[in-house]
Symmetry: C2
Subunit: 432 residues, 2 copies
Amino acid sequence: MVPHLVTALNGPLLDLEKKILAATPAIERWFRLEWQEHTPPFYCSVDLRNAGFKLAPVDTNLFPGGFNNLSPEMLPLAVQAAMAAIEKYCPDAKNLLLIPERHTRNVFYLQNVARLIQIFRQTGLNVRLGSLSEDVKEPTNIDLPDGSTLTLEPLERSANGRRLGLKNFDPCTILLNNDLSSGIPKVLEGLHEQNLLPPLHAGWAVRRKTNHFAAYDEVVKKFAKMIDIDGWMLNPYFARCGEINFHERTGEDCLASNVDTLLTKIRKKYKEYGIKETPFVIVKADAGTYGMGIMTVRDASEVRDLNRKQRNKMAVVKEGLEVSDVIIQEGVHTFERINDAVAEPVVYMIDRYVVGGFYRVHAERGVDENLNSPGAHFVPLAFAQQHALPDLQAKPGTAAPNRFYMYGVVARMALLAASLELEKTDPNPEIY
Amino acid sequence: MVPHLVTALNGPLLDLEKKILAATPAIERWFRLEWQEHTPPFYCSVDLRNAGFKLAPVDTNLFPGGFNNLSPEMLPLAVQAAMAAIEKYCPDAKNLLLIPERHTRNVFYLQNVARLIQIFRQTGLNVRLGSLSEDVKEPTNIDLPDGSTLTLEPLERSANGRRLGLKNFDPCTILLNNDLSSGIPKVLEGLHEQNLLPPLHAGWAVRRKTNHFAAYDEVVKKFAKMIDIDGWMLNPYFARCGEINFHERTGEDCLASNVDTLLTKIRKKYKEYGIKETPFVIVKADAGTYGMGIMTVRDASEVRDLNRKQRNKMAVVKEGLEVSDVIIQEGVHTFERINDAVAEPVVYMIDRYVVGGFYRVHAERGVDENLNSPGAHFVPLAFAQQHALPDLQAKPGTAAPNRFYMYGVVARMALLAASLELEKTDPNPEIY
């Protein structure tokens, strides 16, 4: 059973939902044409925030975990999308090598890996797991709560050094489900004969959030013009500060002045639309993920007065990566609630297709806090009625499928932005 | 609620289900490679018969009705498949012209049309209906039971005669949901600038069942070799008689001798596998559809002693088309039952993807009778659990998703056969 979703949708977003639904033919055609020009990332999940007056992506993950949180009813859709993706890269593929994260004791993450294996097996691929961990020196079994078993195997380069595989397993495609936060492992370098997906520069060793949101700016500009809306409705302001050192307290001026500028711009927009909420910005590492190194700021003075604990929290993200560049991003309130808990929608895509979504629900967090914090227990809640098609006749704001269509559109805009971002940041652009 | 499905699956088919599940990677890769060489029909439905010892397609419909019988949960799958199909033919498409059957008073058929419109609208197309009926001289509304309305509009050729559309509506793609039983209308001829899907030679004015089953023979031969089975398990014997005239009683000898030969071959197979059932053949028009002109024959003598009523029944099919060629096909018993009613699975595909299926359930028919007879009331019953993925661990014969996967494989074999058939019978093959 799925609890009722309580969303405080007010004027502007209802209007947006109406406009997006009415413009479905134009929107779908636009995506279709964009995908003729740009290759979508292999897979992607997008965290959205729905403030009622504004709906925006706040994180675009190119190595998505959490596929296990999608409802089983959506699996055939994922299989079908995966078939389309595989066909594009390697139509005669027999073998897929999946490289998961190293933190293999997280049962939730392992269930995600098991789900990915299930999806790709059903597309007709032999799937095996290769580990980047140096501890995996021979095939290692990990038991899952449902009684099934995952087998991690050590990676092997071929005799001529040109291919990567496992013992007696030569894959056509290597799928990373490891975001490379700790740098690009040597074993993944120089693979030109196989498809390595996503490419290495999609990993957090290279990727920057500001590049992504700069590309998203472009996408929103086109979209907003097409359906005649204020792009701000879908797009958080952002700025960047480099050469920050939280330990040594350098770069605080850049941070404070950008926070101030951003808050001023947001206040202006809030005034324009009569929004009574308190503006805030999110300061987070420009590279990295997992909800570490994230700070909610309501006034520039706050970033000048960081105590030791706060500075330590901001200084490193996953795998101990040192933070030197930060993105300062307009905060988007979350006004979706399931019962009394704050809920943040996450949309999953494979190739150019939305294959499902769920709510990250957190009872103990505020509307302006990050819900994806380490160790935070969130409840994944598969979108209800996500299999239903949008209903143009429904009263705006009342039909879940209409809301999810809007979420799917915004998530695909972030997907398109990721595609542009990867093109622009490709170290070997000539290979396209 | 979906009633429990009672299927008398015995030895050979359980074994087949096991083999097909185990060979999933090889099967899916094979399809993937075949679709690199051959273009699937735009859409297709396949009637299957499951005899427990044998599973075979008995009818491959290239202008499928009945999309309204699929469960709503499967709609996103249909939308996603339709997106892939549209992208292939006309990526910048805005407008789709759908040409339905002429018999517009059939509410069930009209609901199918409404469902097709819903699917294609969600892919981002403006969809309008063009009528082949001469009675439609201006936009004509038809009300549906759910309160919605379909509007039929008269077809119009463009001023230069090169394009087909409606008033103020110039489509990139024209989708036929009319099987052209009554011949190829002049208004559809000579359209070289637009995609006419399926092509005209897929209509019953040109198409022959024997061409389809000859192509299916080829497909089964490859498949049977790949997974090491007797192709007969999936393939009904057939033969053809031309120059039949039921009214004048000519061609009876050809019919009787072919019936006899076929029954002898079937008896031999039944003996080989220890099958106790009584063999039978189906005699039906080589062109045409709608379950008219179909006869169940258990002995050659039966086709020599047709009474006036039987001859009249066989002599014409839909739209008064005269029958001169017949296909004599090995009958496949239907041993699937829902409660006590005989059930025949029908699988729906768009492009190369299975998008759903249902059972045609008929309480008053025998296991060796055609269930798709005119006026017969059948209950469409969406496959239960069709959204679940196959489970290799399940005991053979117990898991519905495994059964449906097998059905999807056999249906896609018929789809591939239709693709080969259309290539071979294309009057303008150079355009490929």
